[in-house]
Amino acid sequence: MSGSKLDLDPGVVAACRQAARQIAEQVTDQIAGRTTLSVERSVTRLLGVDGADSLDVPLPNVLVDHVHERGGLGHGIAYWLGNTMLQTGRSPQEIADSVSAGEIVLTEIDLADDRAIHDRVAEECAARLKEISGRFDERRAMRERLGEGPPPLRYVLTATGDVYEDVVHAKAVAEAGGDIIAVIRSTAQSLLDYVPYGPTTEGYGGTFATQANFRIMREAMDEWSEKHGRYVRLSSFCSGLCMSEIASMGAWEGFDNMVNDALYGILYRDINIVRGLIDQRVSRMINGYFGVVINTGEDNYLRTADAIEAAPSVTASQFINHQLARESGVPDGQIALGDAFEIDVPVRNGLLYEWAQAQLTRELFPDCPIKYMPPTRHMDGNLFRTHASDTLFNLVTIATGQGVQTIGVPTEGIFTPHIHDRVLGLQNVDYVFNAAHDLGEEIEFKRGGIIQTRAQEVLAAAHVLLERIAQTGLFEAIEQATFGDVSRGVEDGRGIEGIVTTEEGYFNPVVDLMREATYA
């Protein structure tokens, strides 16, 4: 490959892309003709429905369940909302309130002409999308006005469980040079088939992703950014059973980045494959449309599978995820594919293998930012050793030019970071990024040496794997425990009951409008 430091064979790379395209197309066919409860709920959210009833059931759930129980969801929630808007003159939010109060039954209202329904709801949807886009335009202007740090962007997690504590931690992160703050979600949230409502102060290993929490963080960080003259991004997780809803909430609240990978939920939360991939498609579409950068989760595989043996599965997955993201209309500049520094500490020349893998990812996806994750799996209570491992990780990050780096913290093997742990992590990053700033430009790898050979071997094995998956399909590959050594069956898993077969006349204005915009 021209300009390749790894001397990669362009023919193999092209064949990988071709196989990945084929795999992604198959997935598209396999999930076609279906929608999910959460996709429909995200339509209501983008139409402006918010709030919860007296039992804390979010109104998007009230609305979608109301139609689903009456067997109408095969037409899409937009159809019923559009009709009710036409016939009653109410807004989507007013309709949700009326349904919640038991005043109207959407499926019993006289039906207007299909065309008129579509036009009415499409018009409403276009207006809302325009409103959100307008906010993102302002945000982009703010980002440009204030400026941000140069890549690799320093991505830092806050996870206290209490959104108000998260704000304090986030400010400490910003002060120490963090560029992106990710509100990591509470342990139980992935399995909830709704998004909790309102600000929350109790979470475990993370803080609930709610729209109110997003807003609280956004306001605090915007204030910080204005005061200090540097824009700080926010990120959260489109994962679990509500991927596309979280994407919608993030859109309203101006989140800049989102982790967005169905495989994480499928493998590690036992979410049904089809459910996850349908939700992912729409959720990535929403992120893509508003210019949000998505992060994929290949790093996770290395937490349950061996980093050396499983390297080809990471590369293969990156090819597939890249194609799946593109099929959802996400441009390369917004696809931060996942990668991680997870080789066990005693492995001789482990650093060289990490270097090879990091450089390989960079070269295979030159236009994608790449999200590089720190060592975690083999980190333990010896926080000083973890800090040392992080130094090597930081060195590889800067020398291979990763786009986004999740920073390592010394207490990674113990608990979710305390306020000073992140600052220590960021100081380590500062030190290494500065001291080795242009190292990447100076380095060429020995022809046929350990690094080149390793990268070529991983690529070749990824190619074999991709060809095999192209034959069997992605679902079968997941069943065969290709990723993370975890096996999941297509008929199993949580959320399967929330998949709905669409009927003749199904209508999703969000998807239609976004697709039009992408392919216009």
């Binding site: 342990t187 475990y204 036992d270 093997g413 113990i414």
Partner: protein, 252 residues
């Protein structure tokens, strides 16, 4: 003449025997200032450290200051009184366990395990139960004397207890990794309560494990044993076969 350690009055060792030097680091929710430094010194004094010294301090954000300190600890512990507190257990090897079980129990031991509640971390329980095991030691599934059921992760306590009763388990094995806000304590306690409510506490051995689980914590919560980092399947198996054999002996 080299000095010898007085094991009845042990204090931390840094540079010289008996210097008592301790490193500590923490954050105070006060603005970065000389007063903050004073506050840290005073606090260390109240913790009982002599000659406390701030070697580094810095602002984290407005109103928060981080410290690295040293201080001399003047407390001592009597190490001689603490012998036999755990590390000295002699674990049996796999074959030894098999023959011990055959001799003392003469039947397969049924164990049911899971990572419970919303905890999705399964590597620990898999390490104990699955054939593959951990660092080259296979899990109980690979033992002739054990019949294992691994329910995986995110398993509600109620499901785990029901399964244990259904298969007549000798032991329930619980793994807990997420400990923030004491989530693990809550989950572990709930399981004990459920087993008690079923009237099975006397019949079933309860063992738990996880990176932040200690045998002290486990016992405090009503478990028979708790295991942490560095546990291998044969450690667990040794405990189970000995405990069952003891129970058989007292019953017989």
């Amino acid at each position: 003449m080299p000095r010898t350690v007085d094991l009845t009055a042990v204090t931390p060792y840094a540079d010289h025997l008996g210097d008592g030097l301790v490193q500590l680091s923490f954050t105070l929710p006060v603005p970065y200032s000389l007063a903050a430094r004073k506050a840290a010194l005073e606090l260390a004094g109240k913790m009982g450290f002599e000659e406390p010294e701030v070697v580094h301090y810095q602002q984290l954000t407005d109103g928060y200051t981080y410290f690295v300190m040293y201080g001399r600890c003047v407390q001592t512990v009597d190490f001689t009184a603490l012998q036999g507190e755990g590390f000295d257990i002699e674990y049996m090897g796999e074959e030894e366990i098999e023959s011990f079980a055959a001799e003392h129990l003469g039947r397969r031991i049924v164990v049911v395990g899971a990572s419970t509640g919303s905890d999705t971390h399964s590597v620990g329980i898999d390490a104990m139960l699955n054939l593959k095991g951990y660092h080259g030691h296979h899990g109980l599934e690979g033992y002739r004397s054990f019949q294992t059921y691994n329910l995986g992760s995110q398993v509600p306590n109620s499901v785990l207890v029901a399964k244990a009763i259904e298969v007549g388990a000798d032991a329930i094995l619980v793994s807990q990794t997420v400990t923030q806000q004491n989530l693990h304590v809550h989950n572990l306690t709930e399981l004990v309560e459920m087993v008690e409510a079923e009237g099975k506490r006397g019949e079933i051995i309860l063992a738990c494990g996880g990176p932040r689980v200690s045998s002290e914590l486990a016992k405090e919560l009503g478990y028979d044993a708790g295991f942490s980092k560095g546990t291998y399947p044969h450690h667990l198996a040794t405990f189970i076969v000995r405990e069952l054999a003891a129970r058989v002996a007292t019953a017989g």
